[in-house]
Symmetry: C2
Subunit: 767 residues, 2 copies
């Protein structure tokens, strides 16, 4: 854990240069706009430790799978998010000495992520080894308004006289650190450079995505435009312009670098560079200042919908805003081909691909803070991958349109390769069905079922129907050889969460069929003909499974069993573990973890969270009281579920404690891994801990519920949610809860367990 | 399956050139002497498909582990058998054209492995693209008498006039095909070459084994020694001599190449080349013909002890002799630092390291066919690795001298890296204890216990005592998270074989303690002090575990359960499987295999085989009848166990069928993988199938039992066994069994269930 960042309500601040934490800062200070993203690398040369990262959404490389021992069924490749063209680079030279903070005396260094406006700023004074001194003030952002553009203002205050050389460049000759065979993934397609501007188009090997990155720039000396001599340079996958200026002490030189990143996902390949050129001219004409104002306005609109305000705890305020900021700059919901990688645009790790995190943890955030089309697009993403999910299931021996969604994917194909996860963590299929259920529950957009949902639900139901087998021994349907959400158990039999999920999927599929049959009979006929669905026979089988699936429980404790045989373990609470043994994933060998009773992340409790409406409070309590003490929360996705359930059970301190475990996960580098990138998907969990946990927000039978409490560490907090066509602003203070209805039209909701009608505002005093 | 090799009682014959099977032939025709081994690569250049392989026993390289996803506890490296210096090379050039069978018109090709004398012969006529024709007759062997030497006679019959150039060379600039990071593993230490001789000493990277390979040669033209001009050449890790001869049609040119391979395992590094030179001079002086005679004599002695003669079935005769031949040339038992790799000296695969195969399958062969010191050396190998096994267990969290022997090893350290095997296939510890039991049962050498055995048994017992945990639920000790011998199940709970094995280990350790306490009380005191053994407390705990260990069974069927929950599976016999689904390991995804009921190799039956004396015949029958139909035998180690049990149960056809599955495994390339090398360890299983299966050989309570039957496909068979100080020759014909006692001193044994005394010979007519 590191605590080098300054607490501030709206900003992330690195005050003073911390080269030892540079990779962490590069992750934390990342900027993006849903279409492109950029780690907080320096514009000028830097020979210190750094992970360079410029990412273009939707562009990936199928890196050849690397395993120790091949298992039949493994995919041939692992799709990886790609480090793309370095568009931020501006080399600075003073009298032949290159500006490099690793080799300079650096003072007054400050890096600021202005979350309110979506802007990264950096200031420093550097004294070069050769003696010259200069002060730099750099500002950059990825524009939300022009989401293929990034812009930089790089201002140099000269404390020397002599030659200042500036070299804005584009470098496409880059690598992924995370490359299985140390290959380069990009090949040059086209390249042009002239004085003042240039571009490079490169193509990914194998996938043949084309990306055109262009740049142009303006230079001002003491606030006046200059048109200096420019030296043009080009080599393979690299272009640059070098400008040499004679400066005097006290001069201010400012370079505005405009850059664009266009991908063949959004433009025809043959006109990529034309489009790039056009956009470049547009933004240059618009100018940095106007773009900055548009950026501030766009971010203000985001914050208006999604901000959470916490009073009385600056660290908590900064933490939650950082999480919301990252989520908003990772995924905007404009493009249903995109999704939310575990590291977003902040690093290469986990391939940047889609996991079940999206459906299980991220969806609620977008449902409550953005237009419903955003969440809908997340669902459509999976709908478009249905055929691939069917092929994936076929590869594993399933038939007749059974669909198994991949554990990790870019384009719908599985690209994970650990048998106990790839083949066995099949509960992910349940999360994908659950997301449809959750979306419809929240939005009431039942039409989605007929438009997209049903085919997915039938594919998933068919999978479960084939994946169970009937145990003569038990007289029940069983599901053998699975890994539940708790990855600290592998290849278990009858994981309660998985079995229960299978049942829910089958039931939901049948309910959906009923609804569509009744409400869209023509559409229904078309669909079932297309997918060759035998409604009588298949549904009869599904019903049979639902009625007789084995759901392991232990009557004596009144708990569901994580899996069959769980109680054969040596059961003792996490609190009895020696601190030196934590985290288990680093201290214990894998087999020891597996046979221990310790749980990585919510498993039975994940199910109780998803389907809370089907369980009474005492059942939840008994399971929480049994499992939480055994849970090590070594997944960043664990605490949020526990926070929500703890809040429900009135365990307020526990809820707050769980919330704390993720709120500042990256800002304080809790797990020593923020250098790889931020934990984007778990950030949505933090949001849930506040809104569903502290705020008690639920939707039950189409009815919104709120049941807030105030953590005693805070003075107040407020959050907004979009509830169908309304926007509600909920503020919770020590003595009251205020629900403001921004839309004006009266709505009814269940507030603190009482049905309430709210026209404009409702103030509920604390009992 | 391929059937291109000619059946012959004593020879393996490739008649006609089969370049498409060259890698297979290279494996099958491999030669070795326990100290060095050589695949059947060609002496002259060959640009066709080939896997070059020259191996020096005990020399390995710790190749950096390669995995997709690191699991805590994995070893840093995988020790690999090394391809070492190419010592066989003789380039042949005719008037500037290189002799290369891939580019010549080849006729009359014949490759013969003369198993009786341990000699590889090759003859062919080649017509070069340039038109010249020659006939080659090459003979080579790895000398048993001089086990660091190999020798070649390479005779050329010239059907042309012109220049014949011969270049004997040594090439140490070689690679392993199986290298994780495509690195070369050898570095040159020293190199010298002069006219007529030379040597190279190279060292392995990291491990710094030194190997000196030397060569010298003689050339005869038409039977007369010639001393031609020699061109000397050297480059890094390579030396050669080139001799150019003017020959006339009809001339015969013979080159004798003598080579030696000395390793720093057997000689001081600083005098390696001196020793090499000395040995080279010795064998050259001895000469090819004398060496050949010594070789024939040495092999005759081996055959005298270990031959199995089958009449009425040449293919079976060839198969069993091939297996015995390979076993004898892989391991001679002279050096307790060596062991038996799954591929012996015939390929690189599986790293050439030691698996539990040695104890479970190979030991009985050496016990019955060689002096007891050979088997004893195999045990001492593990004794010497005890400290490493303790460290290995510590790495996984065990304490107090608990020992877990590695799954795969060269020097005692674990080098396997698949968690479900490395960490979970812990039954291997049981095989190591069982081997001690088996050795003592066979030899009555109880002194071994005090000298070496006890420490190993206590280390293993301590492991089991820590590895079990008490299940409150069951009121029993359980063993969670294991993989049994059947690797088609992973991470299961309460695998019967593993649990039963644990119990047997604990009991055997306690019995051994009792014996030593009584018979070697002083030694006992020293040992327990050294290893800090608390005899009262530890033994009380062991007894407790033995009394209360959970041994899953299904009363209704009267069977032991392969593991808990086995009967929840969808159970249907292998015979119902579609042929297109076989072999499962190639056709089904891993998860499907895991949750199926299909068994890769004997698991419960492995336990019944090991501890047959503790189970009545009907128990064995019920388990055999239940499990065998579910077994796919996709491990070459499976059929032998089934053959032995089937024979015991009187299922003679089944026994023969199982025998057939391994007897010609490599000769007919059943599994399409002989190109990687031969299945050396399973060859011992084939021997067992005959001697323990058909011959019914057992040792029970110190008493030898024989209970032979004759497979109806054969006219007769006979085998020899060393039984303590006696050698018995057992011949089984249609109507009688003849037991010949070679030692003369009368011995008693149980023949066909009757206690019998045999002085010289006993003939038992078939009832």
């Amino acid at each position: 854990m590191k605590k080098y960042l300054t607490h501030h309500e709206w900003q992330i601040i690195e005050d003073g240069f911390h080269p030892e934490y540079n990779r962490i800062s590069e992750s934390v200070f990342s900027i993006g706009n849903g279409r492109m993203g950029q780690r907080a690398n320096f514009e000028e040369s830097y020979t210190g430790d750094t992970l360079q990262g410029s990412y273009v959404a939707g562009v990936y490389y199928p890196d050849k799978t690397r395993v120790g021992w091949w298992k039949n069924g493994y995919p041939e490749y692992f799709a990886k998010v790609l480090n793309a063209c370095n568009w931020i680079g501006i080399d600075v030279k003073i009298n032949k000495t290159v500006l490099d903070l690793a080799k300079s005396d650096v003072t007054d260094f400050k890096r600021v992520l202005d979350m309110q406006r979506g802007i990264l700023q950096r200031q420093f004074t550097a004294k070069l080894q050769s003696g010259e001194q200069l002060r730099v003030d750099a500002t950059r952002f990825c524009s939300l308004a022009d989401d293929e553009a990034g812009v930089i203002r790089y201002a140099i205050q000269c404390d020397f006289s002599g030659e200042l050389s500036l070299t804005p460049y584009l470098d496409f000759d880059i690598k992924n650190e995370d490359a299985n065979y140390d290959e380069k993934f990009w090949e040059e397609v086209e390249l042009a450079v002239r004085k003042g501007e240039g571009y490079i188009t490169a193509a990914t090997r194998k996938t043949d995505f084309h990306v055109c990155t262009g740049m142009c720039f303006d230079i001002l000396v003491n606030n006046k435009n200059v048109t200096p001599d420019i030296e043009v340079f080009r080599k393979e996958k690299f272009i640059s312009n070098t400008v040499k200026l004679q400066v005097n002490e006290g001069d201010e030189v400012v370079i505005y670098k405009y850059a664009v990143n266009l991908s063949s996902e959004n433009h025809p390949k043959d006109s990529l560079s034309t489009h790039a050129d056009k956009l470049l001219q547009n933004i240059r004409k618009k100018g940095f200042q106007n773009m900055l104002e548009e950026q501030a306005a766009a971010w203000a609109a985001r914050w208006k919908d999604s901000d959470i305000v916490i009073e009385g705890d600056v660290a908590a305020q900064q933490g939650i805003r950082f999480n919301i900021f990252q989520l908003n700059q990772t995924y905007t919901g404009e493009d249903e081909r995109l999704n939310i990688g575990p590291k977003g645009f902040t690093g290469e790790k986990y391939g940047g691909s889609t996991y079940w995190d999206t459906e299980a943890y991220c969806l609620p955030f977008y449902l409550s803070t953005a237009h419903e089309r955003v969440a809908r697009n997340l669902l459509i993403y999976r709908y478009k991958h249905l055929q691939k999910a069917i092929e994936n299931a076929e590869k594993l021996g399933f038939k007749n349109g059974a669909a198994l969604y991949p554990m990790v994917t870019m384009n719908g194909e599985e690209c994970h390769n650990e048998w106990e996860i790839t083949f066995e963590e099949i509960h992910r299929n349940g999360a994908i069905a659950y997301a449809i259920f959750d979306y419809i529950r929240y939005t009431d957009d039942k039409a989605y079922l007929a438009d997209y949902g049903l085919e997915v639900l039938i594919g998933i139901a068919r999978f479960w129907a084939q994946r169970v087998n009937y145990s003569n021994q038990k007289g029940k349907y069983v599901i053998l050889g699975v890994t539940g959400p708790n990855e600290y158990e592998n290849n278990v039999n009858n994981n309660w969460y998985t079995n229960f999920t299978a049942k829910k999927c089958l039931e939901f599929a049948m309910e959906s069929i009923e609804w569509i049959k009744k409400n869209c009979p023509e559409k229904y006929k078309v669909i079932i003909r297309q997918i060759n669905f035998d409604e009588t026979e298949e549904q009869a089988q599904w019903q049979q499974i639902c009625d007789h699936i084995y759901l392991p429980k232990y009557q004596e404790f009144g708990i569901y069993l994580q899996q069959e045989g769980f109680l054969d373990k040596d059961i003792s609470p996490v609190s009895d573990l020696d601190k030196a043994d934590r985290p288990l994933c680093q201290k214990w060998s894998w087999d020891r973890i597996l046979r221990s009773c310790y749980i990585k992340q919510a498993d039975v409790l994940q199910g109780l969270y998803f389907y809370e409406h089907e369980f009474d409070k005492e059942t939840i309590r008994r399971n929480f009281d049994f499992y939480e003490p055994l849970t090590v929360h070594e997944s960043s996705l664990s605490p949020c579920v526990h926070a929500i359930l703890a809040a429900r059970l009135g365990y307020h301190d526990k809820a707050y404690d769980m919330y704390l475990q993720t709120a500042r996960l990256d800002l304080d580098d809790y797990n020593n891994d923020t250098e790889d990138g931020c934990h984007i998907t778990s950030m949505a969990g933090t949001w849930m801990a506040v809104v569903k946990g502290f705020g008690g927000m639920r939707v039950v039978d189409g009815q919104l519920h709120l049941n807030p409490f105030l953590p005693k560490q805070w003075t107040s907090y407020s959050f907004k949610i979009r509830w169908r066509s309304n926007i509600l602003n909920i503020k919770v203070t020590k003595d009251k809860t205020i629900v403001e209805n921004e839309s004006g039209a009266p709505i009814s909701l269940v507030l603190a367990e009482k049905l309430t009608e709210i026209a404009n505002e409702k103030v509920l005093a604390k009992s």
